[in-house]
């Protein structure tokens, strides 16, 4: 058994894949350079008359401002429809906004406020304080928001000597450290907490408002957003929250003075399920409400009102209204209706529309010039067009100012057009790719897939020849050389190029050396043209189309179903499914051995068909656990995805709870039953302890936890403290128990029970096994699972050379329980423990999906085992090699259950609730919640990857059934019941088969990563690239990383067991007989 070479080979292969992914993602994801310059009051913008400062040249319209940010204040929430007599919980709850806008139209205005995607809170705060456009790469920063370096409103207000007071969401404090005159932050991460932030604000806002120690007051309410995340918009809690907000607005408006501007805005909207992050209109459209008691809208109402206000436009508008410079890199456009026309002379202090626009245009032009000097990503021709447009504008404006003629209205329109076209150009070109890096990453990934294929065909050759070491050394040398050349030539060495060269070099060297070592004819491209690989090709091709990605869950199920049906059809084609017909005797003999009894074949085929039907029904039922993408119009998310606490009907809640409990207990029972059936629960030992005690205990804890978390908050008021405590303790206890189980399993993975026995010469009957009384398995079944002969047989084979027979020696013989499943039992237990742990991170209803997963995995394993049995019954093939079909089935099932556990490859559908299981108060760091969410998202990939080696063991485990049925005819029974001990007898074949299996699994997942990389690379200007392909790539790549890590973990456990078995034999066998 070559343990280390296997692990090293797999590690090398995985790291090559990682390097490829890293290179590609580095070249693909968008990067925008930040311009770290700030505007100031003394600035003279380029084509102005000399000496005349541009910003702050007049008195500000408003001395003070109150900015109320209501997180996720969707545009719909702010509307008021008096005819709607039966409003839903989120409708007509903010009448004050509509009241003000209609009763005092010149003082108040309500707009739809459109955010740019990604609609996550931190990006939005960045957007409406800096006025710039976000890029895709920012998405991941939501957990650890760091300070904004670009010029922004808060900084400008501070520089102008305004006292900015902030209260609410603590994200602001980390974004603007030291930017506030006074700040009252409240913790924001705990989504389940609806009231802490809002109540904190309400306690402080009115005293401050009435006092005089402020100029700009920013309050960020989080209750509405958290209510959406927790309950969805269509819930009484949302009505309560919005009504509360209505009261807040009313009291703030009452306290406003004449020189104060009130801005109420939502940073983003929410979907119908209360989530956000994407770019559907429901998520981007928020509300914007402006009010001032001294009059706000000075333009005559005949002027066209903007339908929708882009979020960036708030920045220049607020800046000019408050008399501070527009932040340097703002891309926004002033909101014209808030400025007086030149002709209205009633307000001499204010900037006129034309002046405001002119300053805005000059500021944007200055930013554009600075940015195009720093970076080259804005295409030259559009830059040229924009410059020409600007010079035309400026000559027109200046000439009309010189002559004193009123500006033509067309000029205003032209300036607005200029601002919009700059915005559009920037938005388009900040999709900047690095094509060389992308191509390099693609090449490395292709090479890795080729290496995988070669390795899977020639695993034994590679293991024997030791190809790895020179390849890795050569690769390292190539990488160092590239890094050195770049260092000398360019003066800087970027790590990614060296890594890329190292990966590519080692791949090429590996392929070349394997080619040299491989016997002729072993490797042919025709091996690729088999049905499972063609199906894999179809799966990969489906990743190139956005429609197929949108309905990916169904596509994968379709392909799985096809491959499942293919198994018996293929067996029938080879003539293995039905017993050979009696008419065969007339045919020329020698086609296959006639000794196979038809009854055995028939029983095995029936079993196979039963497995297939279980598989098919699991596939069909799993479709009902899917979540919905926003693109799928008429789709209802599964009812089981709703956490119990969100269900309002108590009967439905009870039914769901009972169903989940049944699924949970079935999961635990099936595991326990399997382990007991194969005799792995006998005796005492730490692994058995974790199977016997920890597993049921953890399940009980989980059931209690679900009950506690399902309890509605207001029903048990006197027990609230206890419930709160239980919410923390129960999941932590189950995590602890399961973690302890995993640890114990790793420390002592042997689930074998040895029983010494007196010398058989005493002639007495075999002492009854200890566990008969407790379990009630029939003595006949015991005979099969004791594997008593097994150990003796192994010892005999080892003792062949020794002179004396063991039995006659009088040395005590040993019975070994559970030796037949010595490798698979720890793996099964590991999967059971891991599965429970991951189930805890999911909504309770997903327990059913997990049970389905267990059943389907078992059905797949048995399908594979029966296929092996049927084909080996009639063609006598040897070796443990796992063919492609089960591997592809296994890997597709991982993708299928990714969808069937309610996940989707989109960012808004990530189940953030997983981070709060056991930590309802939120977290201090970011590592723990991030890993919990990762575990939750890639649950099915983790389980299937860890369980992957079972594909190798299962045909051997199922041997018992075959021999039992075969015994009636063939007399060679006892010899055959070696089960997994066969693997120990052929360590060479075992290692090559294990390596082959792992590499095949890696190839199947890697091919999918390669396909989505290709999709992202070739379709990078596609309309759907940021909505479909890029998220899919991120999810597929992360799934690959997670599943490869857990695959390595599973393989490592197998090797650990192998070490332990070797130690056991070492200990048992007397010195002289070895």
């Amino acid at each position: 058994m070559k343990r280390l070479p296997i692990l090293l080979l797999l590690l090398w292969l995985c790291s090559v894949f990682y390097v490829g992914i890293f290179l590609f993602v580095g070249g693909f994801l968008l990067v925008r350079l930040e311009v770290n310059r700030t505007s100031s009051c003394a600035d003279v913008l380029p084509p102005g008359t000399s000496g005349n400062r541009d910003f702050c040249l007049k008195e500000p319209r408003f001395r003070r401002a109150v900015i109320l940010i209501v997180d996720a204040l969707k545009a719909d929430f702010a509307r008021y429809d008096p005819r709607n007599t039966l409003p839903r919980p989120f409708e007509n709850k903010l009448p004050v906004l509509d009241e003000m806008a209609s009763s005092r139209p010149s003082h108040a205005r309500l707009y739809t406020f459109r955010a740019d995607p990604p609609t996550t809170t931190m990006q939005r705060i960045k957007g409406f304080t800096t006025g710039s456009l976000p890029t895709f790469i920012d998405v991941g920063n939501n957990f650890a928001s760091s300070a904004i370096l670009e010029d922004n409103l808060v900084r400008q207000l501070g520089q102008a000597g305004k006292r900015v007071v902030f209260m609410g969401d603590d994200t602001w404090v980390s974004l603007f450290p030291g930017g506030f005159h006074r700040s009252l932050p409240f913790p924001s991460f705990n989504v389940k907490d609806l009231h802490t932030v809002d109540n904190g604000i309400l306690q402080n806002i009115f005293p401050i408002l009435e006092g005089n120690d402020w100029d700009v007051l920013i309050a960020h309410f989080l209750g509405v957003d958290h209510c959406g995340h927790r309950f969805g918009p269509d819930h009484p809690a949302m009505a309560e929250k919005l009504t509360q907000m209505d009261g807040v607005f009313r009291s703030v408006i009452q306290r406003l003075q004449n020189d104060t501007l009130l801005v109420v805005l939502g940073d983003h909207g929410m979907t119908d399920t209360g989530d956000h992050g994407g770019e559907s209109q429901k998520e981007t459209d928020a509300a914007l409400f402006l009010y001032s008691s001294s009059g706000l809208l000075l333009a005559p109402s005949s002027q066209v009102e903007p339908e929708v206000v882009p979020q960036t436009d708030l920045v220049p508008t607020l800046a000019l209204l408050l008399g501070v410079p527009i932040p340097y890199s703002s891309m926004g456009q002033v909101l014209l209706p808030l400025f007086p026309l030149n002709t209205t002379l009633g307000v001499p202090l204010a900037l006129s529309q034309e002046e405001a626009l002119w300053i805005n245009v000059k500021q944007v032009n200055r930013f554009l010039e600075t940015y195009s000097n720093m970076a080259t990503d804005i295409p030259a021709d559009s830059l040229w067009h924009l410059r020409a447009h600007f010079s035309q504008l400026s000559s027109q404006y200046l000439s009309s100012v010189h002559t004193g003629t009123p500006l033509p209205p067309a000029l205003v329109v032209s300036m607005q057009e200029y601002l919009s076209s700059v915005r559009e150009t920037c938005r388009a070109s900040w999709a900047r790719f690095n094509p060389v890096k992308m191509a390099c990453g693609l090449l490395v990934l292709c090479g890795a897939c080729a290496v995988c294929y070669v390795l899977s065909e020639l695993s034994s050759v590679v293991l024997r020849a030791g190809v790895l070491k020179p390849a890795v050394l050569g690769g390292l040398a190539a990488g160092l050389a590239v890094a050195a050349v770049r260092l000398f030539a360019l003066g800087s060495a970027e790590a990614s190029w060296g890594l890329g060269a190292a990966a590519l070099g080692s791949e090429l060297l590996f392929l070349w050396r394997t080619w040299r070592a491989c016997p002729r004819g072993r490797l042919s491209p025709r091996g690729l043209l088999t049905a499972p690989l063609l199906l894999l090709l179809l799966r990969c091709a489906s990743l190139l189309s956005d429609s197929y990605i949108i309905s990916e869950g169904r596509v994968v199920t379709f392909l799985l179903f096809t491959l499942g049906v293919y198994v018996p059809v293929c067996l029938n084609w080879d003539g293995f499914l039905v017993p050979a017909p009696p008419a065969d005797a007339q045919k020329p003999p020698g086609l296959h051995s006639p000794t196979v009894p038809p009854s055995t074949v028939r029983r095995e085929s029936t079993f196979l068909l039963v497995c297939l039907s279980v598989l098919v029904s699991c596939l069909y039922l799993s479709l009902s656990f899917h979540n919905c993408r926003e693109e799928q119009g008429s789709c209802q998310p599964s009812a089981f995805l709703m956490p119990l606490s969100r269900l309002q009907d108590s009967r439905v809640r009870n039914v769901h709870y009972v169903l989940s409990l049944v699924a949970l207990s079935a999961w635990a029972f099936l595991l326990h039953h399997w382990l007991r059936h194969y005799g792995n629960l006998n005796g005492s030992g730490v692994a058995r302890f974790s199977a016997r005690c920890l597993l049921p205990l953890a399940s009980v804890c989980m059931g209690l936890h679900w009950a506690v978390s399902a309890a509605p908050e207001d029903s048990f008021r006197n027990l609230a403290e206890l419930i709160g405590l239980a919410r923390v303790v129960m999941p932590r206890v189950s995590f602890g128990l399961l973690g302890l189980g995993l640890l114990l399993l790793w420390l002592d993975p042997l689930m074998v029970y040895l029983k010494s026995r007196g010398p058989p010469s005493s002639g007495g009957p075999m002492p009854p096994p200890r566990y008969r009384a407790s379990t009630g398995i029939s003595p006949q079944a015991e005979l099969h699972h004791l594997v008593p002969q097994l150990y003796q047989r192994i010892r005999q084979s080892l003792e062949d050379g020794s002179a004396l027979g063991a039995e006659s020696d009088g040395r005590p013989a040993v019975e070994a329980y559970g030796l037949g499943t010595v490798y698979s039992a720890p793996l099964v237990l590991l999967c059971g423990l891991l599965g429970l742990m991951l189930l805890l991170l999911h909504p309770e209803g997903m327990a059913l999906a997990f049970l389905m997963l267990l059943l389907q995995a078992t059905a797949l394993l048995h399908l594979h085992a029966s296929t092996c049995t049927l084909s080996s019954l009639q063609s006598h093939s040897s070796g443990f090699s796992v063919p492609w079909t089960p591997v592809v089935l296994w890997s597709l099932a991982a993708s299928q259950f990714f969808h069937a556990t309610g996940h989707l490859p989109t960012f808004p559908s990530i189940q953030w609730g997983a981070a709060f299981v056991g930590f309802p108060q939120g977290h201090a760091g970011t590592v723990l919640p991030a890993s919990l969410v990762t575990l939750n998202t890639f649950t099915s990939h983790i389980l299937f990857a860890v369980a992957c080696p079972l594909l190798l063991f299962w045909p051997l485990v199922c041997e018992v059934r075959r021999t039992r049925s075969g015994r009636s005819v063939a007399g060679e029974d006892g010899d055959d019941v070696a089960m997994e001990m066969k693997l120990r007898e052929n360590p060479q074949q075992f290692s090559s088969a294990l390596l082959q299996l792992a590499v095949r699994y890696l190839l199947v997942s890697g091919a999918q990563v390669l396909a989505s990389v290709c999709a992202a690379a070739f379709l990078r200007r596609h309309l759907m690239v940021w909505k479909v392909f890029a998220p899919k790539l991120m999810f597929e790549a992360s799934a690959f990383v997670v599943s490869s890590v857990f695959l390595l973990f599973g393989i490592a456990l197998v090797l650990r067991v192998d070490v332990a078995v070797a130690c056991l034999f070492h200990r048992l066998l007397p010195e002289n007989s070895r």
Binding site: D546, Y548, R554, W573
Partner: protein, 221 residues
């Protein structure tokens, strides 16, 4: 001997293909507003009926059906009834399979069942005509051993049946695409795929047999 058999099969296949063509053309005259997409079910049943009638007629006239042991009326009647039962069962079977593949369970059940009828006509009915109501024989035909054992008609049965099913399978591919074409509506693409596959099979079977006639060792009847 070879040429005669192949020629006979080719002409039979040509007749069946022509019947499908006629089944598409004739309703244009008879039915108002007939179109393959618009009144799809009419087209589907017209194709299914014509294929069924022509198949039964051709195989009955050519006398391909397996030799019957007893020639009594009673036996023939029971055979006929068993054939009908098998046909209905196969319709139900195909319906179940199609639903498991992801077809809607309750809404448009009629469309799904019609597709099942079409598939049964293209596959099971031919099995019934050539092999009689004998499931064992059907299973054996679709194996490698069956390949060498039987007559030229079995090979044709194998090819046309698998082509129809694979065609229907491929027909499901365009359904999720967002092209908004009339033929993407369930079950139009699948039934068109099945018919297309069947026609391909009709064309491919004689060519294939002719190409591989050296390797094929039929037990001549």
């Amino acid at each position: 001997m070879w040429d005669v058999e192949i020629r006979g099969m080719t002409s039979a296949h040509a007749i069946i293909a022509a019947s499908i063509f006629m089944a598409t053309v004739i309703p244009v005259v008879l039915v108002d507003n007939f179109s393959v997409y618009g009144t799809h079910l009419v087209w589907l049943y017209s194709v299914a009926c014509s294929v069924a009638v022509v198949n039964i007629a051709v195989f009955w006239l050519l006398g391909i059906s397996p030799p019957t042991k007893k020639n009594t009326l009673n036996y023939k009647l029971s055979r006929l009834i068993r054939s009908c039962v098998y046909f209905v069962l196969s319709c139900l079977f195909f319906h179940a399979v199609v639903v498991l593949y992801g077809a809607p369970l309750i809404e448009s059940a009629l469309e799904t069942f019609s597709l099942a009828v079409l598939l049964s006509t293209l596959t099971t009915l031919r099995c019934l005509c050539i092999l009689g109501p004998n499931v064992q024989a059907w299973i054996r035909v679709f194996s490698r051993d069956g390949w060498v054992a039987m007559s030229v008609w079995d090979t044709s049965l194998q090819i046309t049946s698998s082509c129809s099913i694979v065609g229907a399978w491929f027909g499901a591919f365009p359904i999720p695409l967002d092209w908004d074409r009339p033929w993407q509506v369930w079950p139009i693409s699948c039934s068109l795929g099945a018919t297309g596959g069947f026609l391909t099979g009709l064309l491919a079977a004689p060519l294939w047999i002719r190409w591989h006639r050296k390797q094929l060792t039929y037990k001549l009847k």
